[in-house]
C-alpha cells in the first residue's frame, strides 16, 4: 500500500517521493487516559527526521490520533511547513465495525495524504465539497469528497510546487 501511495503522490505532484525507514511511535505521545496518541507530539518527532534534501515529510501511523482539545484527528500538518501526519485507525472500515476493505482504506489514505500535504504547501480548507481540501471531520465526509484538488486549489499548488517539479521530459 505504501508503494502504491508513493506512485500516487509522485504522479500528483510531479515530484519524486521516497519511502523512508520505519520510525517507532514516539513514547511521549501516548495519552494513557484516552488510549490515543498526541498528533502534535508525533509531528514534532517526524520533523526531526527530515532528510536534508527533502522538501516535505509525511508520516503515516497506524494509531488513533488526537489533540488535547479534540476527540480525534485524521491527521495534522504544519500549514506552509514541512511535516505532516496521517492516521490510519479511523480510515479503516473495522473502526466502524465493518469488515476490512483495502480498496476503501487506500482511497481514504490517498485523500487524507493529499489533504495534509496540501496544507504543507500552504493550502487552507476549501469550500468546494468536491475538493480534497474540503474539511472532513468524518469518514463520510472523506468518502464524499473527490480524489483531486479543485481548480483553484490546484493552481495554487502548481505555483507552490513549481521549483521542485520534475519536468516531463526529464522523467524516466
Amino acid at each position: 500500500m505504501l508503494r502504491k501511495l508513493q506512485v500516487h503522490l509522485r504522479d500528483t505532484f510531479s515530484v519524486p517521493a521516497r519511502i523512508m525507514k520505519t520510525m517507532s511511535v514516539p513514547e511521549g505521545s501516548y495519552e494513557r487516559s484516552r488510549n490515543q496518541y498526541n498528533s502534535t507530539r508525533i509531528l514534532r518527532e517526524i520533523l526531526k527526521e527530515t532528510p536534508p534534501d527533502a522538501i516535505k515529510i509525511l508520516g503515516i501511523v497506524d494509531r488513533d490520533l488526537c489533540i488535547p482539545i479534540l476527540t480525534f484527528v485524521f491527521g495534522e500538518a504544519q500549514l506552509g511547513g514541512v511535516a505532516s501526519i496521517v492516521a490510519l485507525a479511523r480510515l479503516r472500515q473495522e473502526f466502524y465495525g465493518l469488515s476490512p476493505d483495502d480498496g476503501i482504506l487506500f482511497e481514504r489514505l490517498c485523500k487524507e495524504t493529499l489533504h495534509e500535504l496540501g496544507h504543507n504547501f500552504g493550502l487552507i480548507h476549501c469550500n468546494d465539497r468536491e475538493c480534497i481540501m474540503y474539511l472532513s471531520n468524518t469518514v463520510r465526509d472523506v468518502d464524499r469528497k473527490g480524489t483531486t484538488y479543485c481548480g483553484s486549489c490546484d493552481s495554487v499548488l502548481y505555483l507552490k510546487t513549481d521549483p521542485w517539479r520534475v519536468q516531463p521530459w526529464n522523467r524516466r
Binding site: N38, I69, E76, H119, H125
Partner: protein, 455 residues
C-alpha cells in the same frame, strides 16, 4: 474580499496552544496564542479579535476573570471557555457572565468547526444589523428619545425649531409619555444647552414651600428663614426652567406665576428687589388643562400664557409601532447598565408586549423590561420574564389553569424537545435559553427521551 477571522487562544499548556493553533490555521483562521491571562490582555490591542478561546484553569488569572476583562475592553470579542473538568456550575456561571459557549475537552471536531462557523456568521450578521440599526436610528432619535410614529417624528422636528426660540412651551401628555425627556431634549437642542436645566416638581410641594422653592426668600421672610436663599428661578440663570406638573399648583400661585411671566421679573419672598428672568420656561402636565379651566381649577389667562407653543405627546397605546423600538432601546441601555448580554425578546413575549395597553406608557414599558432583564436567565426575554397581567381571552392551553409555573415550564420544554426530536441545540434555541440551562432543566424536571412510536 472577506476580512480575516482572528482567533486568540489562551492556555497555559504549550501543546494545547500549538495543536489548536495548527488545527484552526488549517481552517484558514488567523490564530495567535497567549500562555496566560496577562499575556492575553497585552495582545488584545493587536488586532480585532473575533473570538477568544480561553482555558478555564490557568495559574494566575483564571478563564472567567480573563473573560470579564476581555468583555470590558473588547465587548465585540466572543469568548469560549475551554475546560477539562466539566462542572455544570462553572459552566452556568461562565455562560451567565457572557461566555458564548463552554466546551469540555476533548471536543468533537465536527462540533467545534460548526460552533466557530456559527459564531463568525452570527458576528457578521450582528455587525450588519448594528450598522443598519444605527442608520435607522438616526431618523428616529432625538437625544434619549426614540420613535417611529409619524406624530412623534413631527414633534421631534418641531422641537428642533422651537429650541432656537425663547417662547414658553407647554408639554402635555399622559404620565410616562416622556414629557420631561422631551423638555430636556428641547434644552439640549437650544443655544442654552450649556446652561443649567432646573426642574421644579410643582405637585410635590405645599403652596408656601413651592413659592419659596420657585422664587427663593430673604433672611427673616418667615420663621426658619435664618438665611437668604435663591429659588429655582434664579438658579436657572440663562438655562431652562422646567415647571413639571403645572396643572397641580394652587390658584393663588397661578396668579403670581402669571404676573411673573408677563413682567419677566420677580421678587424673592420677603424681598423688595426685582430680579429679571433670563431663563427659558417649559411647563408640563399630565392633566387635561381645558377641563381644569372648565372646572375653575386652572386660570384661563395663565393657560394662554403658557400655551404659546403646545406639544401633545400621544399615549403609547396610540403608537404601538414604537413598542419594539422602545424595547430595543431599553435593552441596549440596561445591557450596558447591568453588564448583561440580552439579545432580544422572544416572539411570543413581544406579542404580549404589543397586546398590553400601557396605562403607564413608556415608563411602564421601561420598568417591565428592566425587571425582565433582572430575572431572565438566558439571552432572550421570554413570556415568563415579563410581569404583565395576561390579557383575558387569550387562547392558551385549555388545561393551563391551576397549574404552577414550573409545571407549565416542564410541559413546554418536554413538548419543544419532542417536536425537535431531542435536538438540544435546536430546542434550546427555540426556547431562547442556552444549552447548559436546557440540560439543567432536563435534569431538574427529570425529562426523558421517549421512544417515538410509528403509527
Amino acid at each position: 474580499m472577506e476580512s480575516k477571522v482572528n482567533i486568540l487562544i489562551v492556555d497555559d499548556e504549550e501543546i494545547v496552544r500549538e495543536s489548536l493553533a495548527s488545527w484552526l490555521g488549517e481552517d484558514g483562521y488567523e490564530v495567535a496564542a497567549a500562555e496566560n491571562g496577562a499575556r492575553a490582555l497585552e495582545r488584545l490591542p493587536e488586532r480585532d479579535w473575533n473570538l477568544a478561546m480561553v482555558d478555564l484553569k490557568m495559574p494566575g488569572m483564571d478563564g472567567i476573570q480573563l473573560m470579564d476583562e476581555i468583555r470590558k475592553t473588547r465587548p465585540e470579542t466572543i469568548v469560549i471557555i475551554m475546560t477539562a473538568y466539566a462542572t455544570v456550575d462553572t459552566a452556568v456561571q461562565a455562560m451567565k457572565k457572557g461566555a458564548y459557549d463552554y466546551i469540555v475537552k476533548p471536543f468533537n471536531p465536527e462540533d467545534l468547526s460548526m460552533t466557530i462557523r456559527k459564531i463568525i456568521e452570527h458576528q457578521k450578521l450582528v455587525k450588519e444589523n448594528l450598522y443598519l440599526r444605527k442608520e435607522l436610528k438616526k431618523q428616529y432619535r432625538l437625544h434619549d428619545m426614540v420613535s417611529k410614529n409619524h406624530k412623534m417624528i413631527e414633534i421631534f422636528d418641531l422641537v428642533k425649531t422651537v429650541a432656537k426660540s425663547n417662547s414658553i412651551v407647554l408639554v402635555q401628555g399622559e404620565s410616562g409619555t416622556g414629557k420631561e425627556l422631551l423638555s430636556r431634549a428641547i434644552h439640549m437642542e437650544s443655544p442654552r444647552k450649556d446652561e443649567p436645566f432646573v426642574s421644579v416638581s410643582c405637585a410635590a410641594l405645599t403652596e408656601n414651600l413651592l413659592e419659596s422653592e420657585l422664587f427663593g426668600y430673604e433672611k427673616g421672610a418667615f420663621t426658619g428663614a435664618d438665611q437668604a436663599r435663591s429659588g429655582k428661578m434664579e438658579l436657572a440663570k440663562d438655562g431652562t426652567l422646567f415647571l413639571d406638573e403645572i396643572g397641580d399648583i394652587s390658584l393663588k400661585l397661578q396668579m403670581d406665576l402669571l404676573r411673573v411671566i408677563e413682567q419677566r421679573e420677580f421678587r424673592r419672598v420677603g424681598g423688595t428687589q426685582l430680579i429679571p428672568i433670563t431663563s427659558r420656561i417649559i411647563a408640563a402636565t399630565n392633566r387635561d388643562l381645558k377641563k381644569a379651566i372648565e372646572e375653575g381649577k386652572f386660570r384661563e389667562d395663565l393657560y394662554y400664557r403658557l400655551n404659546v407653543i403646545s406639544i401633545h405627546i400621544p399615549p403609547l397605546r396610540e403608537r404601538k409601532e414604537d413598542i419594539p423600538l422602545l424595547v430595543e432601546h431599553f435593552l441596549d441601555r440596561f445591557n450596558i447598565e447591568m453588564g448583561k448580554n440580552v439579545d432580544g425578546v422572544a416572539e411570543s413575549a413581544m406579542r404580549l408586549l404589543m397586546e398590553h395597553d400601557w396605562p403607564g406608557n413608556a415608563r411602564e414599558l421601561r420598568n417591565v423590561i428592566e425587571r425582565a432583564m433582572v430575572v431572565t436567565k438566558g439571552r432572550m426575554i421570554l413570556d415568563a420574564d415579563l410581569s404583565l397581567p395576561r390579557p383575558s381571552g387569550v387562547p392558551g392551553a385549555p388545561d393551563s389553569r391551576g397549574k404552577s409555573l414550573a409545571e407549565m415550564e416542564k410541559e413546554h420544554i418536554r413538548q419543544v424537545l419532542q417536536e425537535n426530536r431531542w435536538n438540544i441545540i435546536r430546542s434550546a434555541h427555540i426556547l431562547g435559553i442556552d444549552r447548559v440551562t436546557l440540560y439543567n432543566k432536563i435534569r431538574k424536571y427529570e425529562l426523558k427521551k421517549e421512544p417515538v412510536l410509528n403509527t
